[in-house]
Symmetry: C3
Subunit: 286 residues, 3 copies
C-alpha cells in the first residue's frame, strides 16, 4: 500500500522540473560543477553509498538464513537508492531553479532546489524502517504503517519544496509532512521498543532507534532553516547538512545493522523455510 | 506488483505538467482562487479528509488486534492520500491547462485539466480495495489483482486526460481503462461476496459493495460527460461531481468500515501474532 | 520495498518530457505516424499484448488454485503494462526529442528518445520475475531482491537516456544499471535453478530461464548500440529490436508459463487456503 503515495513524489518532482524555466539540464550541471562545496556534497555520497554496498556484500557474505538475508537486502537497497539519487543530483537531472513566491524569504529569486533529495527520501527511508521493524520483530501492520507514513512525509515535503504559487501552501505542506513524521516517531519510540524487547533485540534496536530519531529530526530542521524554508542557511551548507545526515542515518545505521545480523543471532533468523512461496500461506512475493 | 503500474501515473502526470505551456503555477493558483465553485470543491475535501483522519483515530483508539488495525490503517491512508491530493490541486501543483486535439468537443481550446485527481485515484483506490478485501476475508491473489487493476484503470484514465495529440488515442485509453474497471467490478460483485459469506461479514460487506460499485461507476461517467470527454459539463461542476463522489466512496465508506471494525468482531480479528515478521512464514513487510 | 525505486523512473521520465523543448505532443505524434517502421513497432505490440491477455484468460479459464492463479495474474499484468506502454509510445505521450551532450555520437542533435520503454521495463519486468520466482518455488527474500534490482536497473537505464548534461554521466548510469542487471542474472542462473530443482519444476524453469537470460541481455546491448549509446543503429531499427525482444521475453515467456500452470500441476498449487488474509499469518495484501 505504502508504494502508492511514493508515486506522487514523482509527479511533483516532474512539476519541479517543469518550473526549470530558464535553465537547461546542461546549464544546471555546469552550475553544480562550478560550486565545489555543492558538487562535493553529492560526489562524496556517491562514493560512500558505493563503499557501503561493497561493505554489506562482504560483511554478509556468509549469511544463509532467509530472514537475516531479507534484513541485509533491505539495508543494501538504501544505498542502491542513495547512489542513484546522488548521481541524479550531480547530473542535474533531479534539481531545478524555482522562483520563490511572495512572502518567502527569497521572494522572487530563483532558488536552487534539490527536489531529487526529497523524492529519494521517499524511496530510501522505507528500507531503513523495514530493516528496523524486522530487527524489532514487529508485524505487517506496524511495518507497513511506518513505511506508508514515511513516504507520505517525504512526498508532502517534496510538494512543499515544489509549490511556488503560495508561501502559505508551502507551509501547509510542511505541517502535513510534520504530522506524518510524528506517526513514525511514535512507532520508533513506543511500538517497536516493546516489540524489540519481546524479540530480544533491545540492545541493538535502542542504539539504532536513538541514531535514527536524532538524525531524522535533522531533516525537517534543515528544510526549515535552509533555502526551502526561512533561508538562514545557504544552498551549499544545506546540501552538506543533508549529506552528513545521510552518512549517519543511512550508511552508519546500515553498517551497525549488517554487523549485527551477519552473525545470524537466533533473534533475527527464522529458518530456511522463511518466506517460502510454496508454503500454504502467503508468499508475499509482490 | 500492483505498485508498478501506479508509477506510470506520475510520468503521465509529469507530461500533463509539461503541457502547462502558457501558465505558471502561480497563474493557475490565482485562476483557482478566482473560481469559488472550483476552489471550494478542493477546500471542502481538504477539510473532510482531515476530519476523517481524526475520526478514524478516535473511533479506533481501542483497537488492538493487528488484523483489525491493518484494516483501520488502510482506511486512514485513503484520507492521507486524499488530503495531500486536494492540497496539490488547490496549490496549482497538479493541474494544467491542456489544448484539446482536433475532433474533441473543445478542439483547440486550453482546458483546465485536474490530472492530479486521476493520479491520486491510483494512490487512494487501492487502499479502499485492500480494506474491502480484508473485510471480505479474501486472499492475496484476489486482493492483489483488484489493486493492480484499479491502478491500471486510473493510470490509463490519467493518460486519456493527458493525451492531447489525438482524440482517437484519448478514447482508446478510455476503452482500456474501462476494461480494467470491469475486472474490479467482477471481483466486487462476484468474488468477494462469496468470500464475505464464508468469513461471516456479508451484512457489512454488501452495504459497502453497493456504495462502492454505484459511486465508482460515477467516476468514468463524469470523465465521459466532463471537459475531458464530450464536455457537456463544465469544469466547476465536474470538479464538484468528483468531490461529492469522493465524500461517499472515500470518507463515507471509511467511517462505515471503521465503525464496524472498531468493535473488533471475531470476523475481522486474527490474534496478536497476525502478520508477525518473526513467524516462520513471510513477513510481508515490504 | 522494490516499488520505491520504480517511482524514480517517473520523475526521470518527467524530466525527459521536460527536455521535449521544441516539439509538442501533437508534433511528436505526427512524426511517429510519418515513420511507418517506427509506428508499426508500436502498433504490432499493442495488438500482441492484447491478444496475449485474451489468450491468458482463455488458457487459464479453469484455474482455481490461488497460487496457480497468482502466477497467471502476474503474467497477465506483464501484458497489461505492455499494452498501456505501447499506447503511450504511439500517442507521443512517453517519447521526447532530446539533445545529446558533447562527446555523444549524435552530439548536439535532437534524438527521438523512447523513454517510455525504459520506464515501463520498470513496471513489467518485475511481474516476469515474480512469475519465474513463483514457478521456481523461491522465497520472499530472493523474489523481492530480483524485483528490487530489476527496477533499479530499469530506472538507472532510464536516467542514462534522460541525462543530456554529460556523456560521462550517461555512461556512469549505464554502469550502475549493468551492475544491478548482474544481480538478476545471478539469481536466474544460480539461485532459482536450485530452488526449481527442490520444487520439481526444473524442466519448465530451465526453458524459461534460457529464454529470459538470452533476451534480457539483448536490451542493454540494444541500448548500447542504439541512438542512446554509440548510435550505430537507427531509431526505427532500435525500436523494432526492443519490440521483438518484448515478443519473446514477454508474450512468449507468458504463454509458456500459462500453458504449464493451466494444468495446475502439484508443483505450482498450494491449496485453497493459500494467501488467505484470514490466516493467523500475514495476508500480504498490500
Amino acid at each position: 500500500m505504502q508504494f502508492m503515495t511514493s508515486a506522487s513524489a514523482l509527479l511533483l518532482g516532474a512539476q519541479g522540473g517543469l518550473l526549470q524555466s530558464s535553465q537547461t539540464q546542461t546549464e544546471i550541471f555546469e552550475y553544480i560543477l562550478s560550486d565545489s562545496l555543492l558538487a562535493s556534497s553529492f560526489v562524496v555520497n556517491i562514493a560512500l553509498a558505493g563503499l557501503t554496498i561493497v561493505a554489506i556484500a562482504y560483511l554478509a557474505r556468509n549469511v544463509t538464513d532467509p530472514r537475516a538475508k531479507l534484513i541485509v537486502i533491505s539495508t543494501m537497497l538504501i544505498s542502491v537508492v542513495s547512489i542513484s539519487s546522488y548521481t541524479g543530483l550531480a547530473s542535474g537531472l533531479t534539481v531545478s531553479f524555482l522562483e520563490m513566491p511572495a512572502g518567502h524569504a527569497l521572494e522572487g529569486q530563483e532558488v536552487f532546489t534539490m527536489w531529487g533529495r526529497y523524492l529519494t527520501w521517499a524511496l530510501s527511508t522505507p528500507f531503513i524502517l523495514i530493516a528496523l521493524g524486522l530487527l524489532a520483530g514487529s508485524n505487517l501492520t506496524k511495518i507497513s504503517t511506518s513505511v506508508a507514513f514515511t513516504i507520505a512525509m517525504c512526498v508532502t515535503g517534496l510538494a512543499a519544496a515544489l509549490t511556488t504559487s503560495s508561501v502559505v501552501m508551502r507551509w501547509w505542506w510542511f505541517v502535513l509532512s510534520s504530522i506524518f513524521f510524528l506517526v513514525i516517531i511514535y512507532i520508533l519510540l513506543v511500538e517497536w521498543p516493546a516489540d524489540a524487547q519481546a524479540a530480544g533485540t533491545t540492545d541493538i534496536f535502542n542504539t539504532l532507534k536513538i541514531l535514527t530519531v536524532i538524525t531524522w529530526f535533522g531533516y525537517p530542521l534543515l528544510w526549515f532553516l535552509g533555502v526551502e524554508g526561512i533561508a538562514v542557511l545557504g544552498t551549499g551548507i544545506t546540501s552538506w547538512g543533508y549529506s552528513l545526515l545521510d552518512v549517519i542515518a543511512k550508511y552508519g545505521v546500515t553498517l551497525l545493522i549488517v554487523t549485527y545480523v551477519a552473525k545470524e543471532p537466533d533473534e533475527v533468523t527464522a529458518g530456511s523455510n522463511y518466506g517460502s512461496s510454496l508454503s500454504k500461506v502467503v508468499p508475499s512475493d509482490d
